[in-house]
Point group: C2
């Protein structure tokens, strides 16, 4: 492993048992030898699984539909290309000559694919928990917006302050469903932000818990959509 | 946990630390209380990840496109509904009264969703490896077709015998690409089966290795598509 590879491994917080797996993750198909497409297949699946599990843990009151939507915000070509740029992955990818001259190194999609392959390589080399930790390291800033400890204040307060600081309208909360028998009711609350066409839901055993869930989902979406982080 | 729940847990090969998670996985939204949709979100992601990793391990010469296709064969609503029936999941699901009277228990899609939620519950309760083992237990017959130990003979021989036993045409192999420098060439071979409109690919450092990869992918597809297992 060359020293740029070692630097990348350090940023992933992972030491490869078989460093050639990292090299393979950074080998474009055009190079010919063992390339990264199979590792990308695994990495894509691992990434989606880790982000799903993380959202499940950190956003307890948020229903499936909003978790799905949030995952799509967090895991997409643009985000992966941006994160790959931050890791300077492009400079490490091995290309065939034609592809290299054709500007392969500058294509964000190629770097995004390689980043998924890198996560796949960590998984194949070290297992699920190693991959989860590497993904959490790379997505640290993006996931910080979901972290209750970093959010600090409760999600409703946090969302309101975030919107007010940007002179945006305050959110409105409405109970849209109360289901179940009296001893086991589930409240579903929708949080709407006029003008932003955002409507998220939260569920909980009380109206207040459901509101907090809906607010947490809305906060995660507005803060990731605008790309402005606010956890200082 | 009631005894049918214990029987299900036994078939998953997993003892829940918090058995209420299994109960939640078997609770339809119409029931009202903590229902299974969030667990289904996690379970779907875990299932896709486990199957991706399993295909990666068991089909070394098979390129990403065929791994993707195979996963879609293995993980889909029909397969999940069939497996859920085998586990008699339908009888364990808790419904709200309206849904129950409306025949919710008989809907395959509801049972398929619940099975994903069950995998999600194992993951949340016991981690990735517990979920992987449970998924492997439930998918044992479907995955057996991919297991080199069970395949026994090499994939090309196996495929040919399988087709001959059914009076189907023999497969044809063609090298479609040779990439890379002389010391690190990668062969891509396509395996076509006339009349079945199946064309799979294999890659490897030799033509023979690539043919075996393509044959393994084709065998997995024909045997799963026709629904006829042949590993006696």
């Amino acid at each position: 492993m060359t020293s740029p590879h070692a630097a990348l491994a350090a940023r992933l917080g992972y030491a490869f048992r078989q460093p050639e797996r990292l090299v393979q993750a950074l080998t474009h198909r055009s190079f010919g030898a063992e390339h990264n497409e199979r590792l990308e297949f695994v990495g894509d699946a691992v990434l989606n699984c880790v982000i799903a599990a993380t959202l499940f843990d950190r956003l307890p009151g948020v229903p499936e539909g909003d978790l799905s939507r949030l995952r799509a915000h967090l895991v997409n070509r643009d985000t992966l290309a941006r994160l790959a740029r931050g890791l300077e992955l492009g400079t490490l990818i091995r290309f065939g000559e034609g592809e290299r001259k054709g500007g392969g190194r500058e294509r964000g999609s190629t770097a995004a694919d390689a980043l998924e392959a890198v996560f796949g390589a960590v998984f194949v080399d070290g297992g699920f928990e190693a991959a989860r930790d590497a993904i959490h390291a790379v997505f640290a800033d993006d996931l910080a917006r979901l972290d209750p400890a970093i959010l600090g204040k409760d999600p409703k307060t946090r969302l309101q302050e975030w919107l007010q600081a940007r002179r945006m309208p305050v959110p409105e909360y409405a109970v849209v469903e109360v289901a179940g028998a009296a001893h086991a009711q589930t409240f579903t609350v929708e949080c709407r932000i006029a003008g932003l066409s955002i409507a998220t839901r939260g569920e909980g055993a009380s109206r207040r818990a459901a509101e907090q869930g809906a607010a947490a989902a809305a906060y995660a979406i507005v803060s990731s959509t605008t790309g402005v982080s606010d956890h200082g």
